[in-house]
Structure formats: structure tokens, C-alpha cells
Symmetry: C2
Subunit: 238 residues, 2 copies
């Protein structure tokens, strides 16, 4: 059995005690059946991964005490994933996948052809935490508030490369150009693609590069994993 | 609005009539509201993509007549995806993703640490058809009957390279070796990984290569897309 991993929003360090809230106590003691003396893994996105011992276990609260650091913090490369939100389940998947794949920041982007405008950032952030617990990461990407594409591009820092998945370039796969080194943001369009105006605007940006993802039209969640794979393999932490 | 795409298990050719079964008639006439004279796209995995016209529309049946071929058959490269089945929803996702990513054959593999042994191949095949309809492919990968890993390796054709995702190689990402050119099979292990015995057996095969997918532990469905991306980008049809 592998050790339970838990994200906590609390400083970690040798001898540091970590109070548990009601949900955490229920998960560790009710669901996972840990008791006093049990050892689990903690991370908080800043201090690496720590072994910690259950030093108090009650129904609605508890305390953990850090023993020793087991891994240093591994920040992912400076890679953002920008995506047009889609159906709820697939949006959840995109956040999960982006966390596993090592994006540092995840930002829902509203484009002209984006249908779903309701995005619950707190729920998506919870998915990122869960994915980080699951994949052994020591870092949790921030899920940003949704932003309109035009507004995002208005304020774009030209020092950050922008890799957008361009379905009109279908079949023209190239190696990723060196201009796409970190910092980079990957932009995945909505199911209907970018509007012609949006595509023109992206193509007109010096820091932006359109990339093909093969001869078939990928769903947004597939495209997100594929694009993150290409970038991580070429320039990232793989 | 983009044209409706439908997979049919029937020969396609100029002037060819295609009878519809009850489900197809319900989908086209009831759900998509097509009527006589409407034009849609057909493919059967063999004869490319055809424009066809509705020439008879009834509640439980109908007839389409092929007009002209719009695209030739595009067979994907000779790439198989072998995966240990996981929870139902994620197994469905793997089949959908493998179809979009251009695998030619999809085969569930039962390993020592595979928990879920119930696989409904007909349901998975239907998912592959739906994904092909959606992604604009002209080819539908075959979903094979589940097979035990040992039995699969007993009869392995050494002319087919085997790329297995080896989580013990974490962090050691390399370019894919040239030995992984088609024909290749990608093998994704179960959530608990391969057993030590299975890993030793795979490592002992001349045609097999272990590949790392970065420093985090990917879920099986994420790993499938990532591995297919690496292969398609290096040696496939992207």
C-alpha cells in the first residue's frame, strides 16, 4: 500500500504541527482509517514533501506532526495552460491533466465560440489539489479566474511565448521551435475553434506560434494533454 | 453548422444506397432533424468519406444515397495501444483518446496488478466509432478482446516494437529511439504499475523499450495520450 498523500495549506518543517480541518480529519481517520502513529506524506506547494505522523485523531479534527522532508519542492517549468472551458466533466479533466502534466498555472479563457461561461474556480482548484496528491507532485498549479481572450491578449507580456493549437494547420506537424522555450503559455481553443478574427490576431503576435496536433480534430481535453506533452518533452521537465 | 458524420457498416461508392437501422434513423431524423434531401458525411473505415443524401426518411428506417467521395481513406500508422483496463469512465476515455490520436488497434491487457477484469468490448467499440465520427477520422480502430499480458508476450511478433511506459524510469526522458518506428505497440500499465516480474520480462525483450513520461506519475488515460503524442510526433502521421 502506498502512503496517503495530503495537500495542506500550512507551513511544513521539522517538528511543525499541522492542524486538520473537519474534511481532512474525516478523510484521514474515517475514510483512510489512519490512527495515532500512522505516517503519511504532506505537501503544501512550497516546502517540498514531508513525512508526518498522526499525533491527534478525533472525529472532526486532528493534528499531524512533521518528521522529515522526503523530497524538495519541484516547481514545474514556467508553463501556463489556457483553455476555453467546455462541458463540466471535460473541464475537470483538463485541470486534472494539466496538473499531472506539470503546468504551473491554469487559466480558463472565454473566446468568441466558447459556449460554457460558468466556471467555478474553487471547484477546479480542488481538482488540481486532488490531482497533485494523486500524481506525486509537490506543486499545485493555480487555477486563475476566467478571462476574455481579447482582454488577455491586450495585456500580454511579449516575453512569454504563446503556443496556440491551430486546427487549420492540420497535418503540418513540425518540431516545436526554440521560441517556445519557457516562459510559455499553451492556448487550447473551444470546440468550434477560434473565430477568424481571433486567429488573425493570434497569428499577428510576434510571440505566438500556431502548432498542429495531427490530421484528426482532437477534443479540447485530448489537445491539452497532447500539447503539454510536446512542450514538456521538447523544453520542459521530462 | 458542420455536417453530420456517420459511420456505417456498409460499402460506399457513387450511387450506392445505404439502408439505415432503427438507431441510425432515430439519430438522423429524430435527434439531428435531417429530412429528405439533407446531405451528410458517411465513412465505413474502408472507402474514405462520402457525401450522401437522405433519400428516404421514416421513423424507424431510412435510406441514404452516396453522391461523391469527399476524402480518401486515411489509415493511421501501424500503431497499437495496449492498456490495462481501469475504472469504466477512464477506460472509455482511453478508447476515445486512442481513436482521436490515431491508433490502429486498441487492446485491453490484463496484468498482475489489473483490478478491473470486466471489459465490454462491444461498448468500447461503440466508443471508438463515436470518437471517429467526432474527430473527422475515416478509420475506426478495432477494439480487441482482452488478453492476459503473459499470453500476449508469449506470442509477440518480434518485428513489432513495444514501447512500454516505465514509471521506474521517471525523469529520464529521451528522444524516442528509431527502433520504435512502425509497426509499434504502446503498452500502458495499470495504476499499481507492472509487477517486478512483468517489468523484468518486458526489459528482457529485444523489441521492447521502456519510456519515461516525466517526473510525475500519470494516470493511465493521461499516459495513453502522452505516449501516443510522443510516438505520433516522432514517427507517425502528425
Amino acid at each position: 500500500m502506498s502512503k496517503v498523500r495530503l495537500f495542506v495549506d500550512h507551513p511544513l518543517g521539522a517538528g511543525q504541527t499541522v492542524p486538520l480541518d473537519r474534511d481532512q480529519a474525516h478523510y484521514l481517520f474515517g475514510v483512510m482509517r489512519l490512527g495515532p502513529g500512522a505516517v503519511l506524506s504532506l505537501f503544501n506547494g512550497q516546502d517540498g514533501e514531508w513525512d508526518a505522523e498522526v499525533t491527534e485523531a478525533a472525529k472532526r479534527r486532528g493534528t499531524l506532526t512533521c518528521i522529515a522532508q522526503t523530497r524538495p519542492l519541484q516547481e514545474p517549468p514556467d508553463l501556463w495552460l489556457l483553455f476555453a472551458p467546455i462541458k463540466k466533466a471535460r473541464t475537470d479533466f483538463i485541470v486534472e491533466k494539466a496538473t499531472e502534466m506539470g503546468a504551473r498555472r491554469i487559466c480558463p479563457v472565454l473566446t468568441e465560440f466558447t459556449n460554457s461561461e460558468r466556471v467555478r474556480v474553487d471547484r477546479l482548484q480542488a481538482h488540481a489539489v486532488e490531482a497533485a496528491e494523486q500524481c506525486g507532485g509537490t506543486y499545485v498549479p493555480e487555477v486563475a479566474e476566467p478571462v476574455k481572450l481579447d482582454r488577455l491578449l491586450d495585456g500580454w507580456d511579449p516575453a512569454r511565448a504563446l503556443m496556440f493549437c491551430d486546427e487549420t494547420r492540420i497535418g503540418a506537424a513540425d518540431d516545436l521551435p526554440d521560441t517556445l522555450r519557457a516562459p510559455t503559455a499553451i492556448l487550447i481553443g473551444p470546440e468550434g475553434g477560434f473565430s477568424p478574427r481571433e486567429r488573425d490576431r493570434l497569428r499577428g503576435m510576434d510571440c505566438a506560434t500556431g502548432v498542429s496536433l495531427g490530421p484528426r480534430i482532437l477534443r479540447a481535453d485530448t489537445a491539452a494533454v497532447a500539447a503539454l506533452t510536446l512542450w514538456q518533452n521538447a523544453h520542459g521537465d521530462w
